[in-house]
């Protein structure tokens, strides 16, 4: 099939989906109290936008997720490079510990973190970063480990220094795996974002959802969920785009988010 026809099919499917979302609740086949029609959600979004709440909460949530993600990258990437590349013995020694840490559910940790950090911004950032750091670390280690040794030997025999070897050979070889970890982490960041905002605070999309639940405003819950989903998908697409630009030599980039290979010991 031609790619244009496939694209056409996809567009038709999306239009059909949106039409069903509108029609099924309207005709009463789905309880409109449970699943409000698309137009209701759009109206709700427009109202939120008109009052300025939408932009404010979205910005706050986005900044939180990105700061958490950034913190996770700035810890996980160097950690993974060091453990995978330079200190394999320490990596062996810390692997089970890291696997256990990765199992430590941030929602539960939240109760402990609150003792130390309160329920302010730092606790939220910490919760997000904690969950995101593990896929990044594990995938970096995996990426470094899976560098083709004949490439390394060839590069070394051509007289590349340690630093050059790292920049020119090791990092590009590990890049696809690192990007996979990054995409997984970005997905988790948005899951945890909502959870952490539900636990306390007074702004953000997660808070908006909880507020709407208390006033039984289901349409607004759906509006919030739509925004979060959009942010998550957009972030994933953005990373995928960067990956395609950076990792031009690997054809296996455009995999679906959930089909990304889980890294060693890494969960969720």
């Amino acid at each position: 099939m031609k790619p244009t026809i496939i694209l056409l099919h996809k567009i038709i499917a999306i239009i059909l989906f949106l039409a069903l979302w509108e029609l099924l609740p309207r005709t009463g086949l789905l309880n409109p109290l449970f699943i409000p029609p698309l137009s209701g959600v759009v109206t709700s979004l427009r109202d939120l936008h008109a009052s300025g709440e939408l932009v404010m909460h979205t910005r706050i949530s986005l900044v939180r997720a990105y700061i958490g993600l950034l913190a996770a990258v700035s810890v996980g990437l160097p950690l993974g490079l060091l453990l995978g590349g330079w200190f394999p013995r320490i990596q062996t020694a810390t692997e089970p510990l890291m696997e256990l840490f990765a199992q430590a559910n941030p929602v539960i940790l939240a109760h402990i973190i609150i003792f130390f950090l309160g329920i302010g911004e730092s606790a939220k950032t910490f919760i997000i970063a904690w969950l995101c750091v593990w896929p990044i670390t594990f995938s970096t280690i995996t990426g470094i480990r899976s560098v083709d040794s004949s490439l390394l030997k060839a590069a070394r025999s051509l007289g590349l220094g340690r630093w050059q070897l790292f920049i020119r050979v090791v990092l590009p070889s590990a890049a696809p795996s690192i990007f996979t970890g990054l995409r997984l982490a970005a997905g988790y960041a948005f899951i945890m974002l909502v959870a952490s905002e539900m636990m306390g605070g007074s702004n953000g999309i997660g808070w908006l959802i909880v507020q709407s639940q208390e006033s039984y405003n289901v349409t607004r819950i759906f509006a919030g969920a739509t925004v979060i989903t959009f942010l998550a998908v957009a972030t994933d697409s953005l990373i995928k785009l960067v990956e395609k630009r950076v990792v031009v030599w690997d054809a296996h980039v455009s995999e679906d988010y959930l089909k990304l290979k889980p890294m060693a010991g890494e969960n969720l």
């Binding site: 099939m1 496939i6 099919h9 996809k10 499917a13 999306i14 989906f17 449970f34 013995r89 990596q91 062996t92 020694a93 692997e95 089970p96 510990l97 696997e99 256990l100 199992q103 559910n105 929602v107 539960i108 940790l109 109760h111 402990i112 609150i114 130390f116 480990r145 899976s146 997905g187 948005f190 899951i191 909502v194 959870a195 539900m198 306390g200 997660g206 959802i209 909880v210 709407s212 639940q213 289901v218 819950i221 759906f222 919030g224 969920a225 979060i228 989903t229 998550a232 998908v233 679906d256 988010y257 959930l258 089909k259 290979k261 889980p262 890294m263 060693a264 010991g265 969960n267 969720l268």
Partner: protein, 326 residues
């Protein structure tokens, strides 16, 4: 002998990190490097876990959580595998066309849906099962679609040339060939499920491991928070290991079964192959857990309802809420 010594040394090296962490956890609070009120030493936690176990308090919560996870997973399997086969084999064009929608739906945040489920199903079992099922459905569905689509065409064609019926084709060729990949999806689904379930139980439940920790936090029983958290971490770790082990055991005939690359994953020798008997045994065990777990969950919920109706209705609160509200 040499080999055994080497593997022992590897084992010691591997777990030295955990050991060091536990030692620090023990002496840190004892020497007051950290406030022992907020971080009790590890031995206190072990005693607390022991107490929870002997009082048979932990057992109920484990059973309830395991029942919820298993039932939710079974629902996801019952929906995901037939749907995945249908989309992957029978209607590949439809699968292609709706792939963007599936991608967006799979990224729908389970926490943002939770309030809707709670509003409409109450905080009863249904809401939790729906959340658990929703979360584990996507990896199972995606892996099933991919797996059934990527069956070796040689196998398919030779089966077709021998005049296999289309029903047998799915049951005897496609499904066995796709199972290892589907199992990866099940494993991912199961681990995500456990994660989300614990969170869901903290947001509204009257039993379960997540509730145990949440309740401890509400009542400022700090050692119990750590005990519950430690237990959940160990439980999750063991669950993950068990599934990885099962994957290797069941699909040892496949070369690249596990997508994980670890220093120690040398592969389990297929010394034991599951026969029909062990499959039945596993099925019966699963059935018993589901039935008895269900009865037990009913009992627990009824007790909770009869003791203090309404007190579990809203658990979105935090320990801060607990200070002021409870």
């Amino acid at each position: 002998m040499d080999n055994r010594w080497a593997s022992l040394r590897h084992f010691l090296l591997r777990w030295s990190g955990v050991a060091l962490f536990l030692v620090l956890w023990e002496i840190g609070p004892r020497l007051e490097w950290i406030d022992p009120y907020f971080v009790p030493p590890f031995s206190t936690i072990v005693v607390e876990i022991g107490r929870l176990l002997t009082e048979n308090y932990l057992g109920i919560h484990i059973l309830v959580s395991v029942w919820r996870a298993l039932t939710g997973l079974l629902i996801a399997l019952a929906v995901g595998i037939p749907l995945g086969i249908a989309l992957g084999r029978v209607y590949p064009r439809i699968a292609e066309a709706i792939s963007p929608i599936l991608r967006v739906l799979s990224q729908v945040n389970p926490f943002s849906l939770l309030p809707v489920f709670v509003l409409f199903f109450g905080i009863g079992e249904t809401a939790k099962l729906v959340v658990v099922g929703w979360v584990s459905l996507w990896p199972i569905l995606f892996y099933t679609i991919t797996a059934t689509r990527d069956v070796d065409p040689v196998q398919e064609k030779s089966a077709a040339s021998m005049g296999i019926s289309s029903w047998d084709m799915i049951l005897k060729v496609i499904l066995p060939a796709a199972l290892p990949t589907i199992f990866v999806g099940i494993r991912i689904g199961a681990t995500i499920t456990f994660y989300i379930l614990i969170a869901a139980e903290m947001l509204g439940a009257s039993a379960g491991l997540g509730y145990l920790v949440h309740n401890a936090a509400m009542n400022y029983q700090i050692p119990r928070i750590y005990a519950g958290a430690t237990f959940i971490v160990i439980f999750g770790y063991l669950l993950n290991r068990l599934l990885l082990y099962l994957e290797k055991l069941l699909f040892a005939w496949r070369e690249d079964t596990s997508s994980t690359i670890t220093a120690t994953s040398k592969g389990v020798a297929p010394s034991w192959r599951p026969g029909r008997g062990s499959v039945y045994a596993a099925g019966v065990a699963l059935f018993i857990v589901i039935i008895f777990g269900g009865i037990e969950v009913q009992k627990v919920n009824q007790e909770a309802a009869s003791v203090d109706p309404g007190s579990h209705s809203r658990h979105f609160g935090t320990p801060v809420d607990a200070g002021s509200g409870n």
